[in-house]
Symmetry: D3
Subunit: 277 residues, 6 copies
């Protein structure tokens, strides 16, 4: 009799029959400015009814054309960073080892580290596409090695900085910008990126603050001068041929957008990333 | 593998094994000032994690001591008032006829009409306890017979005005106040009410605007000078001996309280009403 | 002695001496996600003092160069969809039959149906220009024929789908997009549109969610990836030669933009549409 | 044909036939913490539809039982304090000299000064009842003699401090509290106040921050520990026998209460003060 | 030339000459519902200009009558719970060992643990007065021993549960309430509390959610049915004779009260606690 | 021991050793629509931690590469326009006469008048670059000569209208636009502007409402159709060779952007202007 349901729109297949699994990683413990991305997975699911399952950009209906399961959120108590990361890693590992892809909704950007660790175990030659306003390449942040501001440095130690392609970054220290210039990670021509990557497995990590704060006001560290939504749609379209094996969408902080629109826009972004997987 | 769940806290028993069923009736089509109570059932469920299942007021744990099912929301399209009311009536009727009690989360106050109709079918001598800031006794509102401003007039035609006991009302036309004075429905001594009702079946309809807008800012028609939360707790305690057969909690409009606190307070109110059933 | 006034800025001529009439149609009863467009006409009038009567884009001062009356809002009770639509139709019919043009501020998009019906009575060969994020071409929505999600389907039955020109649409079902592709209604070159329409009477229906939610956060169903304000100004300029006989601006939901800016932007949009009439 | 209206609910009589005139004085230029009370008169009118014209507390219907005109707002440009005060004084003087009473909606508390000046011209032995959280008795504020923080000191120079009766004050400097203790102005027994005042003409100035900020969050200088709404209703009732010749309600700052409830509560307060005049 | 200052109002004495030190502990890492109390110390300081330095309740001016230093915030990176707690402990220890008292503004309630540890080192027979809506007596919370939900259990292990006096608690598990009943910690008569404590050193920990959410909407875990502000003023007054050696005010979450009033009310509460030290 | 600090990020040098001084002018007394820019200097400082001191656009680190002092706010009471302007003028004059440059954070646009007066005393042949949505060229506004709507007219009387270069203006009366067309002040080619100005001293006045309200919702008079943040970055870059002697950034109204993002964006804008000085 009950019609109680709560999955992301169109993601209602059983886990066993699914090719893609969407799940939430509501950890925001190292956020240095504003926390609250912990509420993103639930907020995005709740408003996902406001968008369609059909993407006119990809001509794909994620409900009709795909088999996607919504596996809920990873659970952990707040305050214990190491435990939270390990639980997130476990969930991602499980999905990858069942030969499925995942889309993880963060949470802050640090959740990408255990996610990449899980994917890297299976895909030796993993390449990272990193969309963000911030470099996230500090070696430590106020003494801490594990932080949303150091996450891409840790990821680079896992996969090699030559395997990271960064887009949209417009904030960082002079050291971080020098590092990006030296390693040539930043805003390379998309055609050259594609020819370098070829058919290597790609992990896409999408920090929503790559978007201009006008479009995504609900985020932890807003940074003016960002991409329009149309630009990110075009970017997603331009990499459609790549072998993307999993992805995350992080740093939506719903409580800082009182219109609720950041969650709706986040849901649309998730739909487009699902259509890419 | 999934831990996807979304029920009101502690209300996770299967329908068949439940004595009480909680469900949502997200209709707000006749709201004359501000709409938005349609979002109440989902908003209340989502934040219900912020309260405990244990009520220190009633010394009851709704999860451990009761068997409660969360049956989700009645579904209907917006714009067709008659159809929405009939779907809500059907759901209530089904539960009542399975010998269960219900707590319905509105939605605007008009949803109480189809709910009372369903309960009245089974309980011939039904009595209504009506908590509200507004009399809701107009015969019509701008020509309409079915409105949140006329709902108690329609209910009185079903059960007889002598079977309605109203509390907290502080807004209405002169005609409505004259009617309440003539019929002696308003703010009677609780002990006299109990001795009149005895063990007759009671339906409790609780419009949250009985509370002062300071406590429940997220409501459609705020009316200053209302009850404190402690006062409503005391009231609930004072009628604990009555034979309450079902209830509703209506007119929470979450979007008008940007702190989210109205939903949390609404969840606590629902827990206390569940502990009363 | 009283200086009490409340009209849209610059629209203070008596009805009899006016060529254009602005009025509000505060109906939002079928809104499926967020209601609240009922508050748009009053909110837009109240903040219209924050803009000038002079449009530098059109080099027109709507107060000095035009005779415009603000006829207030159509009145009806909420909850009775058919009655509300019929009252809106009556008001539009009256204005059209007094040989005036109107600009109606919604309300939700369904109000365009009775407006188009009124205009169509006088202008047999009416053509529709439809600016929107959503196709609104469903045949029914959850069983309902009259809904903000079906309004353009109903309009197409009145005027013929070949007489509808749609712009900005980026959300719909696969069926709706197939219909638009088959009928070639979507995003046609403006010069070709002009040469097809010639001097036929044109009705302009402008759902503000055509704008990106960053620019118009206060709307019922925000859809990322929309037009900038400059783009809509350019569009308005490009159709200035057409014979536009009336227009509506719908789906502003002021309560979802707490800065109040959506109302101010809505007022500016109304001024530019008035300058077009 | 137009139904355009915008007066405070029930205040729609022509000026000539009215006994009471309501008008707005939207000046907030000396607000030291938060400005915005300039928006109060319009905001209160706009939501006044959400309350009834009938007061169950006074058993009075302000539309049926009284003749009240809404004379709109005093107009002036911002930045010129002296001119604004003089325009407000002129309006009040005009009403008083037409043998009417007024209720002025502020604006900040400084507007009470020109209002009292106008009333004092006619009523030589004027007495002031002052409801407020703040003493407002500084001789100057950062060097300024005319400020919302000095207004009652200026008023005391007009009417004599022995003719001021203050209630609810819980914030001030040590000097201000010493002054109030010496002059015995504060929180005197209501019965003793009545027997002192007898039938002298009374001006009531009501700074809404006397209410607890929970009830009136939208105010310039919130001060916790204030009156409940019920308490102010009781106070109003207790002075119903006095000869109140005019009144003001000041310091509502609508933009700081995003629920809009402060304006609705302000409207109810105005209705109760009107029922007292 | 610079007038740049930023201390809590009236707390501008040099550290060496001060008897009382106010400082911030912006840690909110274990918040289970809403984070954001990290912003409290700065938000409270910034609005403290809106209150006076003079308390009419205590007849004390904290600037004129006391020597108070504002020592700024303890600094640490987010994400490392143990390090943050140890830094907070170090700061408190330093102040206590310089024979001063402190008032610490949290942060979440877990910061009370390192604060009590520092005070207990000096004051062997320390007694705790605990004002809160929540028992905070769980042994662990989702497996974690150090959490805002377990903090008073940890404190009880330090000082003995017989030395804890709790007030205002209205939320907890059945186990927590049983523990409080067995140990008789809850809501004891204030006179009996005073006669038990005598002149023992007292630490006051004040979780602002003891207040009703209407008064303090900006808090992490709102719980309806709380104290009024007047009640807490009375409570503070009733314990004025005790030997209070230090205190904290925790769990203000400014971002959840968009009016900013929770910060102003928090500032007033801090002033009253300072006047008590 | 104290780490209490509150300067704009990276602006922590002593006044004597500084080349550039940042200070606040929190005056908003003539704001005709919404006030609140008085809160901008403090709000911008408080969130400036959320941006980096390094600008990747200019390859400049304002902390490492520059010597900048934050001199706090000019202090004055509200309500006395002439006194406030004179205090602001005095502060600017002092800095200019110490052979330093300043960046003043408003306040409303009228503060530019005393700032320009101070700079003009030293730099006889001063040229003004004016970025704004509004012409601000009225001769008087509701009779007032000194207003945020007349400020550039007053400035033109100081420096000559031929020395004013305006960009981004999209709102004004017909008279104002005629004046701008006649004097050719508006939106001239940047290369021609540079060749006209040559090495004359330039004052830059930046009203943030030149930005689209989507990017800067927190402003007094939002005007749709504005510049993107990228466009203003490009503009700043294009004038990097000019001899800019001082600047202001005005009209940020933090309370109208509840996400806080307008303040963060304002901080970034200030950093880019500092990097230009």
């Amino acid at each position: 009799m009950s019609n109680l349901k709560y999955n992301f729109i169109g993601c209602d297949k059983p886990y066993e029959e699914s090719d893609i699994v969407i799940f939430g990683a509501p950890y925001d413990g190292t956020a240095s400015f504003r926390a609250g991305s912990r509420f993103a997975p639930d907020a995005v699911r709740l408003v996902s009814d406001a968008i369609e399952t059909y993407s006119p950009y990809a001509d794909v209906d994620i409900e009709e054309d795909f088999n996607i399961c919504d596996a809920g959120n990873v659970e952990f108590s707040f305050g214990n960073r190491e435990l939270a990361l390990s639980e997130i890693n476990k969930k991602a590992y499980e999905i990858i080892n069942d030969d499925k892809k995942f889309l993880c909704i963060g949470g802050e950007h640090l959740v990408s580290l255990p996610l990449v660790q899980a994917v890297k175990e299976k895909y030796e030659d993993l390449v990272i596409i990193h969309l963000d306003a911030h470099a996230d390449l500090r070696d430590d942040y106020l003494g801490e090695k594990l932080s949303h501001a150091t996450v891409m440095r840790r990821v680079s130690e896992l996969v090699g900085i030559e395997n990271i392609f960064q887009f949209g970054i417009r904030s960082g220290t002079r050291d971080e910008f020098n590092l990006m210039r030296d390693a040539n990670t930043l805003d390379r021509e998309i055609s050259s990126v594609i020819s370098v990557i070829e058919n290597k497995p790609v992990y896409l990590t999408l920090d929503v603050d790559i978007l201009d704060p006008s479009i995504m006001p609900g985020t932890g560290t807003p940074e003016a001068g960002g991409w329009t939504f149309v630009r990110i749609l075009n970017f997603i379209n331009s990499i459609r041929g790549l072998n993307i094996v999993s992805a995350d969408v992080v740093e939506i902080a719903p409580d800082y957008d009182l219109s609720g629109n950041s969650s709706v826009t986040g849901a649309k972004l998730c739909r487009e990333v699902l259509a890419l997987l």
